[in-house]
Subunit: 556 residues, 2 copies
């Protein structure tokens, strides 16, 4: 029952070992270069990737998996007609195919599985430009962001998940000799074998905005621990996960495994395939990113499964004081502009004392603080050609409806503008709005306004701001919080509040690190300690319950 060395494990052992070190150090490390520069990826990589992406359009996506018919459900925020037709099958058919693939994958053991999974990452990395184009045109992200968040960083997060899962699977030996003294007789001796067994079929439910980044950790954590994975993409962002499944199946088959270890599960309009799959008795793990309402439904109803959810929250900034007013405004303004605020980590509620704050530029009134941030957004989006490379496009009509609705709730510090994309005339582009609110308007800022919508909220004091942060994040959750202060006591109070309500805190970001960005292998994404998510990407708790240990013991 010892594992034989596997060529794919050998090929990637150095990467795995480096990742295993990185997760114990939590300093800076990355395996996949985030620059799309030709100096890194070669002169033809970008064009090749774009061509590969375009070859998928208006055609049958190449996936040889069980299917009854085909579906095409994508509409690009950039106005492009995708019309990619995906093989479509019912829940029972998908789960049956996945279940049949399980035993051989389970019995291959952790080392073979991690080798195959690392090869899948490597294969996806070879197709990173193709992936980036798919992420761009389904999510509405601008290209560079799609390349980084949807490509390199997603692969880093996947590798991080593999490392945690491999560490967890191998923390116990495969066999152990147990010998206990037994009075004057021979000692008792047992040989014990500890089998790592998967829970069953895993379901990954993807989101529209980050189809790869948010799906990869759960997907690879489940796969490497032995669970076949059914990937249910968002109907508007199928292609990035279809490409993922395509290359994963290619590698699985090459390695001699049933490619049905990974299956794409696109759905027809109104089919509710995610819910059918999530309640299937053979589905034992569900990973989901999306709305609070659906995440709560999954947690309440998919009781046969371990359910990992990332939902909505009220990301908060407490502005107390700063010794770099310009840097603070630049940093926050960039955060609000990036992907037009359509990140689960983008700040929504900016809490500023009504009486203003002290800065390196002297006292700044509430309006000057809000206006300083707004001015940066305005500047970053003034030129359409440069602006759209930051904002990208609006992911769906729900965002447009909220942009309309928010004009009625308060006085704008900055109004949202419609921008004509210079190269893609069908693109739906909007710039961020910032709306002034009073501290007692919790009915407005106490719920999530997903999209390019933030609130400058006038509080009585920083103490009041911290109280609001405790209340709103405690009740509704948050993925990020930030504080700006020159006073160590305020920073400590903010950190104490963040610990109490379980939200990650960034302090005095004025440079090239932004509150809405987290670095794989160093930053945890989500805490699992507030209502915005019941788990973090990625830590021990995220992987440890994706498999179980079943032991067998015999007298030695």
């Amino acid at each position: 029952m010892t594992e034989t060395p596997h060529p794919l494990y050998d090929r990637h052992a150095d990467t795995l070992n480096r990742a295993l070190t990185a997760i114990t150090e939590r300093g800076y490390w990355s395996a996949y270069p985030e620059s799309p520069s030709p100096r890194v990826y070669g002169e033809t990589a970008a064009a090749d990737g774009k061509a590969a992406f375009e070859a998928y359009l208006n055609g049958d996506f190449p996936l040889d998996q069980p299917s009854a018919d085909r579906v095409a459900t994508e509409t690009s925020p950039f106005g492009l007609e995708l019309n990619v037709r995906y093989p479509h099958a019912g829940a029972d058919e998908l789960v049956a195919a996945a279940s049949a693939a399980l035993p051989a994958w389970r019995d291959a053991g952790p080392q073979v599985r991690v080798g195959v999974c690392l090869e899948i990452l490597d294969r996806l990395h070879k197709h990173i430009f193709e992936l980036a184009n798919a992420v761009q045109f389904t999510s509405g992200q601008a290209f560079v962001m799609a390349f980084q968040a949807g490509g390199a960083h997603a692969l880093d997060r996947a590798l991080e998940a593999l490392a945690y899962a491999y560490a967890e699977m191998t923390r116990h030996p495969r066999t152990a000799e147990w010998e206990k003294a037994a009075g004057k007789g021979d000692p008792l001796r047992m040989t014990k074998t500890f089998h790592v067994v998967p829970r069953g079929v895993a379901l990954v439910i993807g989101c529209n905005t980050f189809p790869t980044w948010n799906s990869y950790p759960g997907l690879f954590a489940s796969l490497v621990t032995g669970n076949p994975v059914v990937v249910k993409p968002h109907p508007r962002a199928v292609l990035p996960l279809a490409i993922t499944v395509r290359y994963a199946r290619e590698v699985l088959a090459e390695a001699g495994f049933d490619p049905n270890l990974m299956l794409l599960a696109p759905e027809a309009p109104g089919e509710k395939l995610a819910s059918t799959l999530a309640l299937h008795p053979a589905v034992k793990i569900v990973d989901f990113t999306g709305s609070t309402e659906y995440g709560d439904w999954l947690e309440a109803n998919a009781r046969q499964a371990a359910v990992y959810t990332e939902k909505a929250g009220l990301n908060t900034v407490v502005v107390d004081s700063t010794d770099d007013f310009a840097g603070m405004c630049r940093n926050l303004g960039f955060t609000l502009t990036l992907y037009s605020g359509q990140m689960c980590t983008t700040s929504q509620n900016i809490l500023i004392p009504a009486g203003g704050i002290e800065t390196d530029q002297g006292h700044k009134s509430f309006d000057e603080v809000a206006g300083g941030i707004a001015a940066v957004v305005g500047k970053l989006t003034a030129d359409p050609a440069r602006g759209v490379e930051l904002t990208g496009a609006i992911v769906n009509d729900g965002v447009l409806e909220r942009l309309d609705e928010v004009t009625k709730v308060g006085e704008p510090v900055l109004e949202s503008r419609t921008v004509e994309h210079p190269a893609l005339p069908g693109a739906v582009v909007r710039t961020p709005t910032i709306v002034k609110l009073a501290a007692d308007d919790t009915a407005t800022y106490g719920r999530e306004w997903f999209g390019p919508i933030s609130f400058a909220i006038a509080t009585d004091s920083t103490t009041h701001s911290l109280e609001i942060m405790r209340t709103t994040v405690g009740e509704k959750g948050a993925l990020t919080a930030a504080v700006y202060s020159t006073d160590e006591a305020v920073l400590d109070a903010a950190e104490a509040a963040a610990v109490d309500v379980g939200v990650h805190l960034s302090c005095n970001l004025t440079g090239g690190v932004f509150v809405n960005q987290s670095a794989a292998f160093s930053d945890f994404h989500g805490s699992g300690a507030n209502p915005a998510a019941n788990a973090a990407l990625t830590d021990g708790a995220y992987v440890a319950n994706r498999f179980r240990i079943v032991q067998s013991r015999r007298h030695g």
Copy 2:
């Protein structure tokens, strides 16, 4: 924010480090001697412990915790009047007191907490005879078993849980320096702090049969990860956990912490305090051992909490062949006799080919196999004075009712007898029964008959036996399975079936290791991979989600 060395950590660091090694090796190790011999524990230890136990009887239990009145709910299976009166409080009062104790305990950090928890174990170990008497007279276990399972082994399991939890809390550094190159400018630098934060108040719901052994792992895993613990004992087995809470509070207070970090929550008859506590919004972790019905209710309803349950199952033995017929019968007969089969790990369904089996004593018919096991039980229980030291007493009337009911379902191979306890005339003692069933009588053997009740089930063949094991364990779960065979192919088939249905398997036990016993630091108890339990005691998954990581980052 660095941790200062703590004298309690220093005092117990060697024990902790040895335990940390043991959980990576899973060989034999034990920290607490299991022999109650005066050579180990001293000449007066037994008498002192008995006297300490007796001093609790007919009195107010010494606990200085919030309370409104007192309750006394225990009736000993040995007929002793306990009449110990415990302080009694409502759920809100208990949870409020526990919550108030949380912040300082959280902020003390993992090293201080593990030091305090190890000191609690040490303190409990000093009172092991007192504990053993309390376990004996509430559970009905005979003294030696109460000393071992309820004392030494419970402490070993607690230490095992502390080791896993400490490893998990300290796998990441407390702080990390992150430095990322940023083009031609200065690199980006951040200092990151990773706070280990508890989930909230933890609830432990104890059982009647193993009040300490089944409660300690969850109790100490929750406490060491920063969660105050409310201990809700079974109304018939309060004293062992009251003693536990007493000494834990003593140590917590000596170490400068709020003793309300551990609170006893005894309930008045019909109060349903466990359910009220389990649904309390501040209760974020629930550990439970007991019925499938209540465990399922907790999993479905205590949705604000992480719920760990050990429930009922159909422990199964597949008898195919043996080269030590006498040893097999001795081993199984002892398993059925120990604590009159009232262990969650005792075998219930013994699957034997109707045509008999091959043995070192030649062919044995079905009746000879069943009779061989029955003969051992008969011999072990023939002498009342020696028998009661194995069987102990019957834990509650439900067991007596099932013993009555089972006389109607099939032909007895061995009838249960009522035994007069030679020293304790009020003790309720019954010997095990074994009942013959046909393989198609799944209506009978397909449910759990907790108590001294086993079935000898006639199957078509070993292949048929393995099918039954797959079906029954797959549907209803099991904590243990065993196989007897001289054929490697049968052992492998049994192991494959065990892996498929997720049950721990013991092969060819004929000596001093029994299927109903598991060794801390080596055997996993429960797999979490079948319906009998949703978690194992103890592994990474059991501890990792009892705390969360909340990070703070600042520019360095």
